[in-house]
């Protein structure tokens, strides 16, 4: 866990996309896909807690970050940064067909994964009910309801699921209790992480097959089968 000072260098709003913020920071602070960086406005204590930032894409001297970030941030805002924190996605090297599922409020946290996979010859399918931004043409997109018929296609799945929606996941995937996915899967669990692992406060606890795990330090990306869902 390391501390850095960064800066909001640019904010963009492109058609169909969420507001995105570019963070200027040292290379060591840039989170890998699925990891997060805790960011606080250094000069504004009205933002009482830090914000977890996920990378959408790497940029010159920093990265573009996924929402949501405080509306008080403007270009030039100085940020106290801690991280990168947590465990990110770990994709198999021989990946041929990547299945993606986005059940949160944005697809942004999966964007780095999408861009990276688009540079390979692998196939990629996203299942979501979200309104989507412009995405690489290599990506096929289907509604969540069609996920059940496509379970045999991917050889690896990456999911972004809010903690409160984990109970719906079995229905979305069309799996009865006791049955699992036919391929390995990892899930990025999204939930407020107020202490970012500093205190093990328990606010982000998620039930696993080996007791409770903390999204802030054991996650936010977990092997899906290690969790109770």
């Amino acid at each position: 866990m390391a501390r850095y000072t960064g800066r909001v260098s640019e904010i963009r709003l492109e058609a169909g996309r969420d507001m995105e913020v570019r963070i200027a920071c040292p290379a060591g602070a840039i989170p890998s896909v699925g990891q997060y960086l805790l960011a606080s406005d250094a000069d504004n204590l009205d933002d009482v807690l830090g914000v977890p930032l996920f990378a959408i894409e790497k940029s010159h001297h920093g990265f573009w970050a996924a929402p949501l970030y405080p509306i008080t941030w403007t270009p030039g805002t100085t940020l106290d940064l801690v991280g990168p924190l947590g465990h990110g996605f770990d994709l198999p090297h021989n990946l041929q067909r990547l299945g993606l599922v986005a059940m949160g409020e944005t697809v942004s946290r999966l964007m780095l994964l999408i861009h990276r996979t688009a540079q390979t010859k692998g196939g990629m399918t996203l299942f979501t009910d979200l309104t989507l931004p412009m995405l690489p043409t290599a990506l096929e997109i289907y509604p969540l309801a069609s996920m059940k018929e496509a379970l045999d296609w991917p050889d690896f799945m990456a999911l972004d699921v809010p903690l409160r929606r984990m109970v719906e996941l079995r229905d979305v995937l069309g799996l009865s209790y006791g049955t699992g996915l036919p391929c390995p899967a990892q899930v990025l669990v999204t939930t407020p992480i107020p202490c970012a692992g500093i205190a093990q406060c328990g606010a982000c606890a998620v039930p696993s097959r080996r007791g409770w795990k903390l999204v802030c330090e054991d996650g936010p990306v977990f092997e899906l089968n290690s969790l109770k869902w």
């Binding site: 606080s40 250094a42 009205d46 009482v48 801690v82 407020p192 107020p194 500093i198 406060c201």
Partner: protein, 252 residues
């Protein structure tokens, strides 16, 4: 810090639940700037995280409802006591007890653990003065005892704690209710600068009564800390400020 001479130098520490179970020397905290370390709340038996919504932000602060999860007293000792003996600052163990027997059992055991400098005892929000006195007596022994009282009822309960042998009282985060996104009401502890005026009033009232008081609640700046100390607090406890990226540098 000795049993009857409660001095924290500098007069700053974390509140229970804000920095984990041991002073993490590889973490972000500048331990030389803290006068003591208080562990996360520890109960005799394991506690699991609360069900349902556990965090709600609101203007000026946030609500937490975690259930004070911990692996239980024996596991905490096994995993963390070794770190306490090597701590660069005095370690105060925060105990949660359902009654006097549990508190007494844990307190006696901690008197034999190297590196423990004191105890802080958490009190449920509806405790009577008699219960506070009984818990204080159960905890009292070789280690100094700080009674953490519900902030809203601290003036009502403080004399019972001190008369029963506590060396000081501290203030637990006040409780409140917010409405979650799904419409459900969520009860929990309140944190953030918005509660500072309430906390400052309690510190002022307690110190006017001659109660040794450790101030807590909404301290985010040097001015907040100074206000607490000027009001008579013998030290202050920090909470959510420690979770921001810069830690407590705004107090220095």
């Amino acid at each position: 810090m000795t049993k009857n001479d409660l001095v924290f130098e500098p007069p700053i520490m974390n509140a229970a639940g804000c920095l984990g179970f041991f002073p993490d020397l590889h973490g972000m905290t500048d331990w030389g700037r803290l006068g003591a370390f208080i562990t996360n709340p520890v109960s005799l038996t394991p506690r699991t995280p609360a069900r349902g919504c556990r965090f709600q932000a609101y203007a000026g602060g946030y609500l937490l409802h975690t259930g004070y999860p911990n692996p239980g007293f024996s596991q905490v000792l096994r995993r963390h006591a070794g770190h306490w003996s090597g701590s660069p600052v005095p370690v105060i163990v925060h105990l949660l007890g359902r009654g006097t027997e549990e508190i007494a059992k844990m307190a006696r055991r901690l008197e034999t653990v190297e590196g423990v400098s004191g105890l802080e005892i958490g009190v449920v929000s509806d405790a009577s003065a008699e219960m506070v006195a009984a818990l204080t007596q159960a905890a009292s022994g070789e280690l100094p005892v700080i009674m953490q009282l519900p902030m809203e009822r601290s003036v009502e309960l403080a004399s019972a704690a001190i008369q029963a042998g506590a060396v000081a009282v501290s203030l637990a985060a006040p409780r409140g209710i917010t409405q979650a996104q799904e419409g459900e009401f969520v009860q929990g502890r309140l944190y953030g600068p918005a509660i500072l005026p309430l906390a400052l009033r309690k510190v002022h009232e307690l110190t006017q009564l001659g109660i040794p008081t450790i101030g807590a609640g909404g301290i985010y700046t040097q001015e907040h800390k100074n206000a607490m100390l000027t009001a008579g607090a013998l030290a202050v406890q920090l909470d959510g400020l420690l979770w921001r990226g810069a830690g407590f540098s705004s107090l220095l």
